[in-house]
């Protein structure tokens, strides 16, 4: 069964490997990266599937 984490299109964990910047607040940055993810998920469900 697919892991729900895979549903974030490019999860922060993966993105983090690409970026070599040190952030002051890692948690805040991770959240900001995922912002809009839920909306895009809902929108994609609407236009891709229905």
């Amino acid at each position: 069964m697919a892991d729900t984490k895979n549903m974030l299109y490019v999860p922060w964990a993966e993105k983090r490997k690409e970026i070599e910047i040190a952030f002051d607040n890692e948690e805040q940055t991770a959240k900001a990266w995922d912002r809009g993810e839920d909306l895009m998920f809902l929108y994609i469900m609407t236009i891709a599937l229905m």
């Binding site: 069964m1 697919a2 892991d3 729900t4 895979n6 549903m7 299109y9 839920d38 909306l39 895009m40 998920f41 809902l42 929108y43 994609i44 469900m45 609407t46 236009i47 891709a48 599937l49 229905m50």
Partner: protein, 389 residues
Amino acid sequence: MEKNENAEQLLKERVLRLKTATELKEPDRVPIFFPTETWLASYTGYTVQEIIYDYNKMIKAIEKSIQEYRWDCVWGVGSIWPAQIFDAVGRLDYAASGSAFQVPDESYMTPEEYPELIADPYTFIVEKIMPRRCPELAKTFPRNAIALGKGASAFALFRSQMGAVARGWLQAFGIPLLVSGKTHPPFDMVSYCRGLKGLLLDTKRHPDLVKEACEALLPISIKYAMISHRVTPGGFSTVFVPPDAAILLSPSSFEKFYWPTFSKLMEAICEKDYNAFMMLEGNWEPYFDFLAQLPKGKIIAWMESTDMEKAKAVIGKTMCIAGDIPCALLGYGTEKEVIQYTRNLIDKMAPGGGFIVCSDKEMISHNDAKPENLLAVTKFVKEYGVYRK
């Protein structure tokens, strides 16, 4: 928008009424509502295209019905989306229909692609299904990116607008929004990728792949429900679940292909203490034994062609039953005929509670109900539907 005098009191009563019925008990009276969709256009003198392109007209139409009929909840926008969210990405099927939200049955994948879908369903949907279904997204950058951006912006505006509007209705009219979240059972999600006809053939030719595909889509189906649903404090709302493809399957195929992931989805929704509103089109009698296993007291089952009495007997102890005044009667019958049908319905279904009155189908066209018939039946239910202790 003028506030109804006793909006707060009305809201409390309506929410309690709906909750009690959903919990399979007797409220003060039988709740009533009608699932108005594109019917609202002719009701307000607009065309369907007007309300799908100018959302303020859509909202006006709903508000007119709220004020006129004063049902126990408002259906909401149902499947009437703003056309822009589809137009932007090149999906013109919604606008072209001009009558109701209808999606042509097309396959966007081959059976050979099942392993890819199963391995990573969201990626497969985004990279393969989405651009095949939405022609603008198949074009090259930057055209496709801008198309997605335009569509998503329209979608975001729509959601924030409707959120505020629904809260406004709650405060001004004391009316809760019946449907807040939605999802599709995994089998239906596979049908949107493979086409319904294609998927039905696959159940014969590639049964194992179909089963695996449903399991792969289960987390997405659950996530859709969780993300889309908003619980409003002081309100009553449900997650809309239309198990559309189920009745095309024999009970043994249903058990094999549909039920495992469908039941897990419903359990996930109810475990979160959400309520679900299942739109059961067609005749569900062959699947009663399955429905009876779903979580108790949390689900409203909207019946279209199922025998209401039989439903009450077998699944009435599991779920609240809603229905089933025929749109054919509301649209073509006399007031007398409509009242007679409703009287019969209440006599059969109301005792013991767990019953909500509504039409058998979504109201999508002008001939689905005469406004006078709706008025008459609403007035009747508010008197005859009272539970006398």
